[in-house]
Amino acid sequence: MMEGRPIKFRLLELFNEGEKWNYEVIPVMQEEYRMNSKYEADCLNFDIIEICTAGFLVKTETQIDEEGIYRQGSLLIRYKITQLGRDQFETIAKKLSKKKVKT
């Protein structure tokens, strides 16, 4: 439903599906939103941090990336959606515009 919608809409949808690591979500988003550079991946990671700070996600597990799953030496974080996040997702889902832009 949220593919091709604003980045945070889609992120909420992905986390609403279930608990996920940031390194699982970022490649999916990179593919869908054509954001392939390292910098763009960092931007996506930062967007996840922002919605977590907003109270829509909570961190459930952290791990240092020793094997280079995402990037060697970086912090891997597993997130789970909160009730607040789910409510926000449902609110925007009801208000989506009928047409989706092709970007």
Binding site: G4, R5, P6, I7, K8, F9, L12, E19, Y33, R34, M35, S37, Y39, E40, C43, D47, I49, E50, I51, C52, T53, A54, G55, F56, V58, K59, T60, T62, Q63, I64, E66, L75, I77, K80, I81, T82, Q83, L84, R86, Q88, T91, I92, K95, L96, S97, K99, K100, V101, T103
Partner: protein, 366 residues
């Protein structure tokens, strides 16, 4: 042995998470500090515009037909319009520098009118016409110091609105910090305010203006808090500035022109007169980067703290005036400065766990 390593790396991950968290908060506070600095600096080109052509020409022309206050309001429209246009161009350069994906995100955001774009348009209305107009009305009908004090009270209104309607939580310590900063900043203008009250020239329209300014900026804070939850900062502030430019140039300026005010004649000289262009460009740069810092600080440290820090612009403006004109600040300014400093310390050194989420402790759902 392996288990031992696993235990070690787990501890390190916890440590690293804490370091990252501290970094994130520091980033938010640095953005807030830059916001105050740029906003304070913005007052320099902002007040210069009132004394250079073509703005003075417009003022004089309107003064003849519509009186002093009419002239001030019309000039304020042209100044705000020029400022918004330049800031939008500066933000355009910023986003071009970041990459095409920011423009794709802008397109995706703009079509989601009911879910997110409405907040950005509302922010433009509250911050643009409502707050700007309000503060000029307050200046015209009550006095400059009254207007400044009214504007500086906006973090209090904004904090109340965002805790009430956007669900953001603040610790008692953060609230005390915000209040202290606002008190300190108001201290700067206290002598001026006292003089204005003594002179007894305050008119009811001035109070209406003050209320419009404080509510405008406070409401802007609320709608941004709501909008930033679900939009990406770089795309969001550009769309907000674009909306604001649209409000001035597509709605208000044409309406004034149709009403017979010769505002359009003074538009072209802004871009052809080198002095005017320089001042307007400086103003656009300061305002553009100010907007960037505002929208970057919001998702990190929350609405209340960002607005509290932004009130510091009064201190910065006084400092810039001192550097540029040699106006020695009065003793109330120094007292205000000390109070502000205490407020920042109060706010910054609160328990970092409080900032884990802007909406207090949240539980995961299955």
């Amino acid at each position: 042995m392996n288990g031992h390593f696993k235990e070690m790396s787990k501890l390190d991950a916890e440590e690293m998470r804490r370091i990252n968290h501290r970094k994130k908060i520091r980033y938010g506070f640095i953005m807030g500090a830059f916001l105050a600095l740029l906003w304070g600096f913005w007052y320099v080109p902002g007040s210069l515009m009132w004394v250079i052509e073509p703005f003075t020409g417009l003022y004089e022309a309107v003064e003849l037909t519509h009186g002093e206050i009419g002239a001030m309001l019309v000039t304020a429209v042209l100044i705000s319009g020029a400022n918004a246009l330049m800031a939008t161009i500066v933000l355009l350069i910023w986003n071009i520098h970041l990459g095409k994906f920011k423009f794709r995100e802008m397109k995706r955001t703009i079509v989601e009118l009911r879910a997110v774009q409405k907040y950005l348009i509302a922010a433009a209305v509250f911050a643009g016409p409502m707050a700007v107009f309000g503060s000029y009305l307050a200046t015209g009908f009550a006095g400059a110091a009254f207007s400044a004090v009214a504007a500086l009270a906006f973090p209090v209104v904004g904090t109340i609105l965002t805790t009430k309607f956007a669900g953001q939580r603040l610790s008692r310590r953060a609230i005390a910090g915000i209040l202290t900063i606002v008190m300190g900043c108001i201290c700067i203008y206290v002598i001026g305010l006292f003089n204005e009250i003594m002179e007894g020239n305050m008119q009811p329209m001035g109070y209406v203006g003050g209320l419009m300014a404080v509510m405008g900026w406070g409401l802007e804070g609320l709608v941004i808090a709501k909008g930033m939850d679900i939009s990406e900062p770089d795309a969001a502030f550009h769309l907000k500035m674009l909306s604001e430019t649209g409000i001035w140039w597509i709605i208000i300026i044409p309406i004034l022109a149709l009403a017979g005010i010769p505002i359009l004649e003074y538009v072209i000289p802004i871009f052809t007169d080198p002095a005017a262009l320089l001042v307007v460009t400086c103003s656009g740069f300061a305002f553009g980067y100010c907007t960037i810092c505002y929208y970057k600080a919001y998702p990190m440290i929350g609405a209340g703290r960002t607005m509290g820090l932004s009130a510091l612009n009064a201190m910065v403006a006084t400092a810039f005036l001192f550097i540029l004109t040699g106006d020695v600040p009065s003793w109330t300014v120094l007292i205000g400065g000390v109070i502000v400093f205490i407020g920042i310390i109060l706010m910054f050194y609160e328990k970092q766990e409080n900032l884990e989420s802007l909406r207090g402790q949240q539980e995961a759902v299955e």
